[in-house]
């Protein structure tokens, strides 16, 4: 079927679409902390946290093809680095972000050393074990003096008091009141900045020469090596970087006040959540984790009280009223299975397909500065044989 419209990449229509989308995004980002309810701001912050973690997992898994089920550990490293620096040494929480980044980078790079030898599902197994070990390690009596053991750490976040400045702009302060009366927007903005940083790093990498070598490693690592990609160095750096980025949203959770090793996102459940967010949104696409996190958080919130049958919308009641627990986990477990059949590139890939039916984007001729379509990889496709590279 021929698409109805054609747009030239970089042409005026393409720019108009971009400007409208950017304006809508900015509007939503400003609307949530100023006019949204407290619970909406909380939800948005959680969604952004998941977004950051899933984006960093996506760089490793979606683009480089290295399976990790241990990202909850890196997330936890971020949380505990912040918590320890704040409680033990009295640092300001924001200053711990670079430290968390650095610590997780080193740990991630160390983990990547065995990952150079261990491939595919075996790597998944090793990292899964890492995810299971991490909370146990935190509870380990030998380091209880540092981590507080299974009780965790409290007062790990900001101290809001009356002397704080409020940063008002003509009586308008979308970042909340830092004197301790309305601090939720403040966390929201930290989350936005963290996600923005992670997104820009991912985008910068993926759309550059490095990104091509990552995809080459994913699709055929032997061919990549032959083409001159330094496998060990690239894999190690990406693993480290992915771990480091995942630590940032982890830090944010610590900044909210308390950290315990049994917090769901710090256990292996966190790893699986990040994976779900990434796959539902679209592995190997830049926008996938962002869409995935919003969808995930939205459905989880909406179905949170479906344990009581009268809270379920009447159309759906017969399907869910028997469940004794909220159905979100089941919905996403099922959607992983179904998505692999119908849309292996998740919602983002599905959206691209649908839009592709209606609008065709004509890329600039080769030699221009924008990205031209990547040639399909030859040889044995080990990963998503249908589409070599989703993002253009």
């Amino acid at each position: 079927m021929k698409p109805l419209f054609t747009i030239k990449a970089g042409g005026p229509t393409s720019w108009a679409v971009r400007v409208v989308c950017a304006a809508a995004l900015v509007y939503v980002l400003l609307w949530i902390p100023t006019s949204g309810s407290n619970s909406l701001i909380d939800t948005a912050t959680t969604a952004l946290t998941l977004m950051g973690a899933a984006l960093s997992l996506n760089l490793l898994l979606g683009f480089t093809g290295q399976i990790s089920l241990g990202h909850s550990a890196f997330f936890g490293i971020g949380a505990y680095t912040t918590a320890v620096c704040v409680t033990r040494w009295g640092w300001s929480p924001l200053k711990t972000l670079p430290i968390a980044f650095a610590v997780a980078f080193v740990v991630g790079a160390l983990v990547s050393l065995p990952a150079l030898r261990i491939k595919g599902v075996y790597l998944a197994l090793v990292t899964l074990t890492l995810g299971v070990v991490f909370p146990q390690f935190i509870k380990w009596p030998k380091i209880e003096w540092l981590t507080g053991g299974s009780r965790g750490l409290t007062d790990t976040g900001f101290k809001f008091d009356k002397n704080n400045r409020t940063f008002e702009l003509f009586g308008w302060n979308p970042w909340g009141n830092l004197r301790g009366e309305n601090v939720k927007p403040f966390y929201f903005w930290i989350a936005v900045v963290i996600v923005l940083i992670i997104y820009l790093i991912c985008r910068g990498l993926v759309k550059s020469r490095v990104g091509r070598s990552l995809v080459a490693i994913r699709d055929n690592s032997t061919a990549a090596a032959v083409m001159g990609v330094n496998l060990a160095l690239t894999k190690g750096l990406v693993f480290g970087l992915s771990a480091a980025m995942c630590a940032l949203p982890g830090s944010l959770t610590a900044m909210k006040g308390t950290v315990t090793p049994d917090t769901a996102l710090l256990t292996v459940i966190g790893s699986i959540t990040f994976l779900i967010v990434m796959v539902v949104g679209g592995a190997g696409t830049l926008w996938g984790p962002i869409i995935g996190a919003i969808v995930y958080q939205f459905i989880t919130e909406k179905t949170g009280d479906w344990v009581e049958p009268d809270k379920i919308p009447s159309l759906l009641r017969p399907f869910f009223s028997w469940s004794k627990t909220p159905p979100a986990a089941g919905i996403f477990g099922l959607s992983l299975v179904v998505l692999m059949f119908v849309a292996p590139l998740g919602l983002a890939g599905f959206w691209k397909q649908v839009v592709g039916r209606v609008v065709a984007v004509v890329p600039k001729p080769a030699g221009s500065t924008t990205l031209e379509p990547t040639a399909p990889s030859d040889g044995i496709p080990t990963w998503q044989p249908e589409e070599p590279l989703a993002e253009q």
């Binding site: 074990t129 509870k139 030998k142 699986i272 299975v337």
Partner: protein, 308 residues
């Protein structure tokens, strides 16, 4: 000496459970080359089914056999309906699907039986504790060299021993076993000589899930706290066992399972400060990492040669 004997028996009985789950992992891996991350959750589902049979007043022995039948069906259906069609796409898709099944099955358990610990007298359980296959009262122990050994532990070890012998009889002396070995050795050639590989794979998944069901029931019987997270760590230990023994060696899985059980129990017992209850799972991590790094084929597995 008493402590050593006690730890030995405890380690072996826990190790037996790991061996059962590891056997399931290995049977599936041999047939299809997939690592089934949902193995533990399949076992947990069947375990809860057995619990439900107990609620209906079915004696535990029959309930376990019925639970294994349920497990067999679950495994076989999973293979035919989900894993076989998806494995034509890519190994990555299979990995995601097993994670999806993991999540889905865990949710189903919670949705049917509630997120609470079982048996839960608060929600109207008739059973005071999880049905155990063997006498499990505080007085049910035998004294050997001054050590009080629970009859339950001995029973578990004996049961797993018998089951292992039976399994090896199936592998080595039946047509199904021969077909399974043929498919494991070379799927294409097996097809060419007229083996219905589809049915064999279906049977493999079913068998793996049925063995897992038994493992789950036994583990639920020896652990005090039966909840939705029961199988997380068991799966880790079982994977460690499969890794240690070699992913394509059923014998290795049994040896690996017993060794992992022994190693972690001895380590936790003799080094309470360094390992203790917290870092038991760290031992499994080191085993998996060490074996995969230095001897990826495990103790008894065949090393694979990769062609570029």
């Amino acid at each position: 000496m008493e402590l050593f004997l006690q730890r030995l028996v405890d380690g072996l009985s826990e190790g037996s459970v790991y061996a059962l789950i590891a056997l399931g992992i290995v049977i599936i891996y041999r047939g299809t080359g997939h690592l089934n991350f949902a193995q533990g959750e399949m076992a947990l589902f069947s375990t809860f089914v057995v619990y439900q049979f107990g609620e209906w007043g079915i004696p535990i022995g029959i309930a376990v056999i019925m639970g294994m039948a349920v497990g067999f069906t679950l495994g076989a259906v999973t293979e035919v309906a989900i894993v076989r069609p998806i494995s034509k796409k890519s190994p990555f898709a299979v990995f995601i699907v097993t994670i999806g099944l993991f999540q889905l099955l865990n949710w189903v358990d919670g949705a049917i039986w509630g997120g609470q610990q079982l048996p839960n007298t608060g929600v109207g359980s008739k059973q005071v504790r999880f049905p155990s296959l063997f006498p499990n009262n505080p007085t049910d122990f035998v004294t050997i060299f001054g050590a009080n050994i629970k009859i339950q532990s001995l029973g578990v070890i004996a049961l797993v021993g018998v089951l292992t012998v039976a399994l090896f009889a199936i592998f080595n002396h039946t047509r199904l076993g021969l077909a399974m070995r043929a498919v494991a050795a070379n799927g294409e050639s097996a097809k060419l000589v007229g083996i219905r590989t589809g049915r064999v794979l279906m049977a493999s998944w079913g068998l793996a899930a049925a063995i897992g069901a038994l493992g789950g029931v036994v583990f639920a019987g020896i652990s005090t706290n039966v909840n939705l997270g029961l199988m997380f760590t068991v799966f880790i230990y079982a994977s460690a066992a499969a890794t240690l023994g070699g992913f394509d060696s059923p014998g290795g899985a049994v040896v690996g399972g017993l060794s992992i059980g022994l190693i972690q129990n001895m380590a936790a017992g003799y080094a309470p400060k360094w390992v203790g209850q917290e870092m038991k799972v760290g031992v499994a991590f080191l085993v998996i990492l060490g074996v995969l790094l230095f001897r990826p084929s495990g103790l008894f597995g065949t090393s694979r040669v990769e062609r570029v």
